[in-house]
């Protein structure tokens, strides 16, 4: 359902960035999302038109090439050029979302071996990066704000971890809620870097989003 909501554009920006990054890193769900986007195009094409006001003025504004929309006023985020052949730690969707490169993130220690960088909190949604020491065991949420519960989606950016549901590596998404055993173990060989989005107001819908069923 995350994939369908992504294709439909109904995800909150933090979740959209997470799913977009997953699709960049891993190919297995791209076809399905592309198909749903085609379905979106078909539905758009088939929809009953609602005429715009001032059609002629709108057209000439576009042809004048002097549009007055904000996209021309604001400076866009300009990611630093990348050395050829080096895959950046942050996929484009995440860099565009946080408007920073990974090196510019500021970390604070939550517990020994666990550092956090919160990038957004709004509408009950919290998006953060986590750095977890290799081999660390932790109950995913209880170490942090225990009042913040609900749906939690984790994207692995570096290293890996395992929990009761499975094992996750770069590009994988783990979905969890209160009902699940939250104990996780970071892989022993490398520090793990994770992007985590939590929605305290949302719960998993039955078995629909569990496990690999995104």
């Amino acid at each position: 359902m995350l994939l369908a909501a992504f294709a439909a554009g109904s995800l909150e920006p933090a979740f959209a960035a997470l799913v977009g990054a997953h699709l960049e890193l891993r190919g297995e769900n791209r076809d399905f999302v592309a198909s749903l986007e085609m379905a979106g195009g078909i539905l758009l094409d088939d929809s009953e038109p609602v005429p715009l006001s001032e059609r002629d003025r709108r057209l000439s504004a576009i042809f004048s090439d002097k549009p007055c929309t904000r996209s021309h006023v604001l400076a866009p985020y300009d990611p630093a050029p990348l050395a050829a052949g080096i895959e950046p730690l942050l996929p484009l969707a995440l860099r565009a979302y946080v408007e920073r490169d990974f090196d510019a993130l500021e970390w604070s220690e939550v517990t020994p071996g666990l550092q956090q960088c919160v990038v957004a909190t709004s509408n009950g949604i919290e998006a953060s990066f986590l750095r977890c020491r290799a081999g660390k065991r932790w109950p995913r949420r209880d170490d942090r704000n225990s009042d913040q519960r609900g749906l939690e989606v984790t994207l692995v950016l570096q290293g890996g971890f395992g929990d009761a549901q499975g094992h996750y590596l770069r590009g994988d998404i783990a979905v969890a809620d209160d009902a699940m055993d939250p104990r996780s173990v970071i892989d022993p060989n490398e520090e793990a870097i994770l992007f985590v989005v939590r929605d305290s107001g949302r719960r998993l819908n039955g078995s629909l989003m569990r496990g690999a069923q995104l």
Partner: protein, 188 residues
């Protein structure tokens, strides 16, 4: 749109010759539909028109980036509008956006062993959609493309919430299966 995309040549004319007449035809077809689409997603009338305008401006400026091999014009425009709408949510928290944000389309080109072109793939998606029973297609439409919550759908259709959820799950599973059977693979 099945088989060939009649809007693709118009996009080419815009990309190559800044053809205003071709763009006007694209505008007259897509702008009112984008407007309708954004209104259905619950946008205010003024905001829907503003975003439609921004998307159409982007299409005028970035027509050269359209690739008929990868998608139909409708799907390309749909994705730009979808991304733009997400950016509108970001703007609420003070984020910046740009043409490039709108065009930040992940390359969803099918894997290399898939030899279908965009038009063929699209025909199959259309086929998979029409293979759904009407009440399931309606639910997919309401839930995924009109952004309605399950409880609003239940209220609107006058059926219990549980029924909405189970029908949606059926529809979604079936859509996946139809797509897989028609050659659009999805690996778990």
């Amino acid at each position: 749109m099945v088989g060939s995309d009649k809007y693709a040549p118009l996009m080419m004319a815009v990309a190559q010759h800044r053809d205003r007449e071709a763009f006007t035809r694209l505008f007259d077809h897509f702008a009112p539909r984008l407007n309708a689409f954004l209104l259905r997603l619950g946008m205010e009338a003024v905001a829907a028109e503003e975003i439609t305008q921004e998307v159409m401006e982007t299409i005028w400026r970035k027509a050269a980036l359209f690739d008929a091999q990868k998608s139909s014009v409708a799907t390309w425009i749909y994705r730009i509008a979808r991304n733009r709408r997400i950016d509108a949510l970001r703007r609420d928290r003070g984020g910046l956006f740009s043409d490039d944000d709108m065009l930040a389309i992940i390359d969803l080109t099918p894997s290399s062993d898939d030899t279908l072109d965009a038009a063929q793939r699209e025909a199959r998606v259309r086929g998979a959609m029409t293979a759904l029973p009407p009440e399931q297609l309606l639910l997919v439409r309401l839930a995924f493309f009109e952004g309605l919550t399950h409880s609003v759908i239940a209220e609107r259709l006058g059926v219990p919430l549980g029924t909405v959820k189970s029908r949606l799950r059926l529809a979604f599973t079936r859509l996946r299966r139809e797509l897989e059977q028609s050659g659009i693979r999805e690996t778990e």
